[in-house]
Amino acid sequence: MTITVTGLTKRYGATTAVHDISLRIAPGRVTGFLGPNGSGKSTTIRMILGLDRPTAGSALVNGKPYAELKNPLRTVGALLDARAVHPGRSARNHLRAMARSNGIPERRVGEVLETVGLRDVARKRAGGFSLGMSQRLGIAEALLGDPEVLIFDEPVNGLDPDGVRWIRQLMRALAAEGRTVFVSSHLMSEMQQTADHLVVIGKGRIIRDAPIAEVIAGSSTTAIRVRTPDAEALRHQLAAATIAVSHTGPDELTVTGAQIERIGDIAYEAGVRLHELSRRDASLEEAYLELTAPSVEYAAPAPGESR
């Protein structure tokens, strides 16, 4: 099942939270939805789930608006803010009510509580749960209807390292079963280990929509390191070929925006001896910061930097 978003826009008065975004979120892989705080991730997810009304455009799940799905919990499971449970109701009773509303057999309640490791506290009131436990309850709710589509909004918030690893494995497993997994985060490192495909959003616009390897490779911070006893000569040759040299040391250069083969060829033609020619991949973190730098909503000056 595919999520198809077309021209989706959300305006609040003069502010545009989501600006004309179009996406196709495919099954069988984990699609990461990455962006700084306030970039429109949650608003987009709420519109997909029919909670917020788009100003323009549409979001379809398996070709239908969410509101037209019959027993939607059996098609789409979602984790939004973890605390969205009545604090006076037990985890089990919360899930029982959700199950009943969608004709889901009651035994699923016990199954999903077992899956997320909350069986022992199933009868405790949800108000007493830690953030990590609330998060697990939210995940149990998402899994309740055994849905083909899973949407997680910042699922690792409040989880300890064990929990983080657990949810990473869970998402990988769900995608491996052929399900559509869409997960938002502002944590790059998390996405790097979980996602197959990346959608980067900034200030309500899609900045990048590509396989994760491509996002990293396409970053200008993917640099080539050259060590040579004749750095000055090579720098001249590269400059003549309009290739940017970002750093020059006594016997080394850092080159960006050029293929490694091209640099090797230039060095060969100029007769410059090379001691090292290697590619330094950007981490997703660097690629992401570079992509979103112009669209960070709430920027603080770097420590030590004056305003």
Binding site: R46, R53, A67, D81, V85, H86, P87, R96, M98
Partner: protein, 241 residues
Amino acid sequence: MTAAAEWVKLWTVRSTWWCVAASVTLMGCTAFLLANDFVYDIEHPDQQSVRDTAATTQSIVDPAAASVSLAQFAVIALAMLVITSEYSTGAIRSTLRAVPVRGRVLLAKAAVAAAATFGAGLVLAVAGLFAARLGLREYAVVDLGDAGAVAVRIAVYLALVAVFSVGMGAALRSAVGTLSAVLVLLVGLSMVVPEPASEYMPGVAGGMFVADGDASGALILVAWTGAVLAAGYAVIRRRDA
């Protein structure tokens, strides 16, 4: 299925049980006190200053019917919490994901609140009638037909007030706002609107229905309830959750 889920939700929070217990207690105590006042006036003729009737007996129906205006507050709280507690805790987003057709959610909540308060209404009516019988002692007039009829009227009245409160909760979302608005419409308006216009206010009309079985009073309350529920629907349908 939606109503079944709402029924589970209603009875799996403590506030519902507290509200039912509070309404029954309020009803019993008020009815007993009113009955006791009546008896006191009869037994102390020298002290009576403002006795409005010369009657020397009273039907148990009278103190019971009069007590509803106080006991209803716990019922209003029960009904409005069905929806306002979901907005205050964020649970409404779970509810609307499970059932995205919002009119169906509102109707299910109204139906569940009505059913629960109708049942609770019968229980508290019986409690009020018993307390009245106890308080009136040998001055009590007991007619089982009358008592049964007033019990049903009390239950119907409370069910309508519950639907009224659910509709208001959907329109305003906040518990404090909802409670204030319901109190103003149900109690406040009756005090400030002059007669005969006040008979068209929901509180007065509902009171006439409970006490005398006045059919036009019931219709007026039904109309108010329908209007508030429609307003709640207009809001819940349009606004972001």
